[in-house]
Amino acid sequence: MTHLAKRIIPCLDVDKGRVVKGVRFENITDAGDPVEIARVYDEQGADELVFLDITASAEERATMVHVVEQVAAQVFIPLTVGGGIREVTDIRRMLNAGADKVAINTAAITNPDFVRVAAERFGSQCIVVAIDAKRVSGLEDAPAWEIFTHGGRKATGIDAVDWARRMAELGAGEILLTSMDRDGTRDGYDLELTAAISAAVGVPVIASGGVGELRHLADGILKGKADAVLAASIFHYGQHTVRDAKRYLAGCGIPVRI
């Protein structure tokens, strides 16, 4: 028996310290200010926040540290930072700035042992492995997904389910699973993928990629067996608040923190 709540996690893409993908809130003066947006989500009852640093150049990526520092001084829910986490020093810098977890993506593929080292040094609780997966099976075949990098353009030949299992064994405390087929489509999560990964690992799974309406969040939890659901655009554009989403999930019989 548990009352552990399913988590709703808004995700913000940050480029050179500014939130991109046009957040549209009425009660906000600067739609690009990560701190202001984080505060709105906090007030709406977001359970965690994910910041994804999409800054292209390594020099300008230092701005993310300041973003995390400012957010962490005002918003007291867990913060995860992803994008450009390649070395132990990157992790330490983000944790010292006030992040609670880091999401490791490409660096885990180029050097899986990095995940083990990071988990041993900082504890599994702050090591999230982000997996970008694409369906590679034909319609008639048993479903199969492969890991892709470079925003879904580059195949790695790695089976997504095997990979998730291996990452959990190496010490990942959580899996952030994005369907590259669904990302940006608003058609809902790849529920088969989410359920396959969730059944394969003993650590929590965050579903990501494809949310277009509240029902998709409920499906991710009830059918995809996700422990947490991540979404960007349905919250950013003011289509729904996090609070709306929680009421909807509660109405579906899902435990949420309201």
């Binding site: 548990t2 552990l4 962490a72 001084a73 007291f76 829910i77 006030g98």
Partner: protein, 211 residues
């Protein structure tokens, strides 16, 4: 002016604890330190921590903080958080068996995990309800069964059930908080638990260490 020492022994994100204390602290002076002298001079002491207990204990010994913590836990308002709660016990199953500071009799054990159709995930990660077992200054103004944020794979089993200040259900009903005299400790992270957590920290800063 109240001085508060947050013990920094290199384990995890001490910053989020000090930031939350600064946010609620008013004119309290919050310092993050591994200097035994400064810690022993503080009015209130916070002992946070995440990660593995073996690393925690070896760092505490290397920095000669183990006896400092024992001293503080006897003499002033003291708040342990997460690993800083587990380290207060005699012994933990973690890392094949690791002795703790022995301040609270009992041990730290791993979640059973379970089996069946929907085995519980480990770590226990996320927001869960905290059921207060008795009135305490640190629960002041916090509704019964409020949600707090947890991230852990182990939990404490104190020998004396009377020290359990709160319980949470996750497959088993475990001690989510403990209190004994001037010591309060939480398995959850008040610094990451939004309003309920900030209230608990504010209560701690206002606490004189009496029950």
């Amino acid at each position: 002016m109240t001085t508060v020492a947050v013990i920094d022994y290199g384990m995890g994100n001490i910053r989020s604890v000090s930031k939350a204390l600064e946010y609620v602290g008013g004119d309290a002076q919050i310092m993050v330190s591994y200097d035994p002298e400064r810690i022993l001079h503080a009015d209130h002491v916070v002992f946070p921590g995440v990660g593995a207990l073996r690393d925690c204990m070896s760092e505490l010994q290397r920095l000669e903080l183990d006896d400092v913590i024992r001293e503080c836990a006897r003499t002033r308002p003291f708040l342990g958080i997460c690993l800083g709660m587990q380290a207060l016990m005699d012994f933990s199953e973690e890392n094949g068996g690791t002795p703790g500071l022995g301040i609270i009799p009992g041990r730290t054990v791993m979640f059973p995990g379970g089996s069946g159709d929907a085995p519980l995930k480990i770590p226990h990660m996320g927001w869960n309800r905290v059921h207060q077992m008795h009135a305490h200054a640190l629960w002041e103004g916090i509704p019964q069964d409020s949600y707090f944020y947890f991230v852990h794979s182990y939990y404490i089993e104190p020998r004396d059930a009377a020290v359990v200040a709160a319980t949470t259900d996750y497959g088993v009903s475990f001690a989510a908080a403990l209190s004994r005299g001037n010591i309060f400790a939480a398995q959850f992270h008040p610094e990451k638990s939004q309003q309920a957590g900030l209230k608990l920290l504010a209560n701690f800063l206002a606490w004189d260490g009496e029950i």
